[in-house]
């Protein structure tokens, strides 16, 4: 009753076939000179190893009676890693982790508290860990998208920003429109998946429940609850990261920072 249609050893063979496929796709991107092949390969190997390490850890954690002591460390580690990864997407922005980490931490924590209090997340490791992973993961993605877009808008629209400052706008007023655009752009993937929910997009966790043989209607209900929470966390994170980025994009004297 695990839902997986083959044994662990057969799975390794299938994974080999998949690798060949992915090598072809990466070859395609090298050929098109997109410049992501190295990063992608690295991400893939790193991600794969991490996931197996995590799975092994989870395997023991699920059996461990006092699992709730180490779990707090795990959650904090998730937010820190998310902040660090997201900061690397902020282009030339120095010390971006100072704004990504608190944004992801706050967005994610608020959501987990609501999930716990409402009863949607029983206090058991097989609920807390996967849900926290989804919540922090989505917060990180949205944080990256928002920050990448915002720094790009600043690079492109420096003369416009300086014109606004010259006319007596504060940094907050000058960047308002760009901040809004960045938040909106970052939320696009979430809005898109929401709209096609059930039509194209059967979200991952519902897919996992279905593969494991759960009743589709119950799985859909659970998925919606999770979804609403994950998105809510994303909204909080994106608004926070844009608000916090102001003090890195501008100097105290309300000038555009030199690194832009």
């Amino acid at each position: 009753m695990t839902g997986i249609p083959y044994t662990w050893e057969e799975g390794l063979v299938i994974m080999g076939i998949m690798m060949v496929m992915l090598v072809i796709a990466i070859g395609l991107s090298v050929w098109k000179k997109i410049g992501i092949a190295r990063e992608y390969t690295y991400a893939m190997i790193r991600g794969g190893l991490q996931l197996f390490a995590a799975a092994t850890l989870l395997y023991f954690l699920f059996e461990f009676e006092y699992w709730y002591y180490p779990i707090w460390l795990l959650l904090i580690a998730m937010a820190l890693m998310g902040g660090y990864t997201s900061a690397r997407r902020a282009g030339k922005m120095p010390k971006a982790y100072r704004i990504t980490t608190p944004s992801i931490l706050v967005g994610g924590t608020v959501v987990l508290i609501v999930l716990r209090v409402s009863g949607a997340m029983p206090f058991k490791p097989q609920f807390v860990i996967p849900l926290a992973g989804m919540v922090f993961g989505n917060a990180m993605t949205i944080c990256s998208l928002a920050l990448n877009r915002l720094t790009r808008e600043f690079e492109t629209n420096k003369p416009t920003l300086e014109t606004m400052l010259s006319l007596g706008a504060t940094p907050k007023e000058a960047m308002e429109e760009y901040g809004r655009m960045s938040i909106k752009a970052a939320l696009i993937p979430n809005i898109d998946s929401l709209k096609t929910l059930g039509i194209i997009f059967i979200p991952g966790s519902m897919a996992g429940l279905l593969i494991a043989g759960t009743n589709p209607i119950l799985a859909a209900e659970y998925q919606i609850i999770v979804y609403l929470m994950v998105i809510g966390g994303g909204i909080i994170t994106s608004i926070m990261v844009i608000a916090l980025s102001r003090r890195l994009l501008f100097t105290k004297a309300q000038q555009i920072a030199e690194w832009v």
Partner: protein
């Protein structure tokens, strides 16, 4: 009475020494031209004066107060820069002109038509999409936008480049007129020495980040310009 005093201003831009200890004193109500070759620090000086950039050393006093100690927004509303590149903000010409007053909470006191006329544009332009104007029209909207703030000092960076030649003198005329009427101090960066002679009381000749010479316009010798 001096309104702006620049003392030994130094500024590096990347690897280039843009200002190398420049000093200059501006009288209230005067119109002073800054002339000099590209890279002599004219634009950098203007941008320091409304604190779009920060000096590395030296100081700038506005009405006796070091601008480094002033609120930048308050300073920029009094010492208004019209940059060389006239970037239009999204929306109509009217919205562009009202942008500054709106932020200052004084949109009611802003007479858009008047500002446009002062900048040499017909008030009929108010409803047009600012981004679709010609280069010369944008220049004048940028000027009108600055005037709407009722500045005390106006920093003009090549205000007539790209304007129709037959309209240049009219634009000069309108700038001079309201400057004189309102006792405005004007710092006018230009490449065009005849223009400097036409419009200014004094001419400061910049070279390699310092003021080489300041003379009354009537005493300025063309040969000394570069």
């Amino acid at each position: 009475m001096s309104i702006l005093t620049i003392k030994k201003a130094k500024k590096m831009l990347g690897d280039a020494r843009a200002l190398r200890g420049l000093s200059l004193d501006l009288e209230k109500g005067e119109i002073i031209s800054l002339v000099g070759p590209s890279g002599s620090g004219k634009t950098t000086l203007l941008r320091s004066m409304n604190r779009l950039i920060e000096l590395d050393s030296g100081s700038i006093l506005f009405q006796g107060e070091n601008i480094a100690d002033m609120d930048p927004v308050a300073l920029r509303r009094k010492v208004v820069l019209v940059p060389q590149e006239s970037v239009m903000l999204q929306g109509t010409v009217k919205e562009n002109v009202q942008y500054g007053p709106k932020l200052a909470g004084a949109v009611g006191k802003c007479d858009v038509g008047r500002c446009l006329r002062d900048a040499g544009l017909s008030p009929k332009f108010a409803g047009k999409d600012a981004e679709k104007l010609s280069g010369g029209e944008k220049k004048r909207v940028a000027l009108a936008r600055a005037l709407a703030l009722h500045p005390e000092v106006l920093l003009l960076d090549e205000p007539t480049v790209g304007v129709d030649p037959k309209k240049v003198e009219r634009m000069e005329g309108t700038i001079l007129k309201f400057a004189r009427e309102k006792g405005l101090t004007v710092v006018w960066v230009t490449h065009d020495v005849p223009q400097a002679l036409r419009v200014s009381d004094r001419i400061a000749n910049l070279k390699k980040g310092v003021v080489k010479e300041v003379t009354n316009a009537s005493e300025f010798r063309w040969e000394g310009a570069y």
